[in-house]
């Protein structure tokens, strides 16, 4: 049997043993990385958003250095690209896309939704962003400009959405529960 005929489990086992034999990555290091990757998900980003909504100092840190803000909430960022955070305001709405591939802030949002990698999303996000997010039910007022963030290089980007009206007095956990994946990409906005 050649490697072309091997099933993926056999190939993976072969690759792992070669990585270990050549001292590139040990079994423990690979297990640790899998654990970190599986720990990423929209609930992590939602915790950051909720904290930023209730703590102005944390929000300032998050906008200045997203990775440090993530680490403060025990989200592992070691070895990952810098995390940039863009803030939605009444005057500007952000939408994140990676037109070149599928760059995505996995530590804080997990695996990207299937449509994030689609050619249609990537092409339309930069050319017809208002029409695109309208299909998620997001209608921007004319007074709100849209700024598309094309994630082309060494950063990963997430959106800090606006805190919706009707959430006054809510706890961080209650706030985090209403923040969805799409709110942190910019296709939707959180609702109370």
């Amino acid at each position: 049997m050649t490697w072309r005929e091997a099933d993926s489990a056999t190939l993976l086992a072969g690759l792992r043993s070669l990585l270990a034999a050549k001292s590139i990555a040990s079994a423990d290091e690979i297990a640790e990385r899998i654990r970190i990757t599986d720990g990423g998900g929209p609930a992590q980003g939602a915790r950051m958003v909720a904290k930023a909504w209730t703590d102005p100092d944390y929000k300032a840190l998050m906008l200045a250095d997203g990775a440090r803000a993530a680490e403060l909430l025990d989200i592992p960022m070691r070895g990952l690209p810098p995390l940039g955070v863009v803030e939605n305001t009444p005057g500007i709405h952000h939408l994140v896309v990676c037109t070149l591939c599928s760059c995505y802030p996995r530590a804080v949002l997990g695996y990207p939704p299937f449509w994030f990698k689609s050619a249609a999303y990537r092409a339309r996000a930069v050319r017809d962003p208002r029409g695109l997010i309208a299909e998620w039910g997001t209608e921007l007022p004319a007074a709100t400009a849209i700024r598309v963030v094309d994630s082309t290089a060494d950063y990963r980007w997430m959106v800090l959405p606006m805190r919706p009206a009707g959430t006054e007095g809510w706890s961080e956990a209650e706030l985090a529960a209403i923040v969805r994946e799409g709110d942190m990409i910019g296709v939707t906005r959180p609702r109370a």
Partner: protein
């Protein structure tokens, strides 16, 4: 180092017509005018990294473009004056505008 507000133009260049390459500059901004928002740091040049060549750190900037400067006026979709695209671009793709 380019400071915030500096007007720039993306090099109108198509290295992919000259051979194998890896480029992080999307085609739709090449030759277009933009403005430096901020320096994001220096990173090994991905055009070399992709081929496992020694990669020198290159300044990476967030550059802002008006959507109306990127797409044809005849587009069926409106591009209101305030709408923008923000992109990470390496310094060697930027020219004085």
């Amino acid at each position: 180092m380019l400071s915030a507000g500096t007007p720039v133009r993306v090099r109108l260049d198509w290295p992919e017509t000259r051979g194998r390459c890896h480029i992080r500059t999307p085609h739709y901004v090449r030759g277009r005018p933009g403005e430096i928002v901020r320096h994001l740091g220096d990173f090994p040049n991905p055009e070399d990294l992709a081929f496992a060549r020694p990669a020198k750190p290159v300044a990476l900037y967030h550059v802002r473009f008006r959507q109306a400067d990127l797409w044809p006026a005849a587009d069926p979709w409106p591009h209101p004056a305030g709408d923008e695209i923000l992109i990470e671009l390496y310094e060697h793709w930027l020219e004085a505008a």
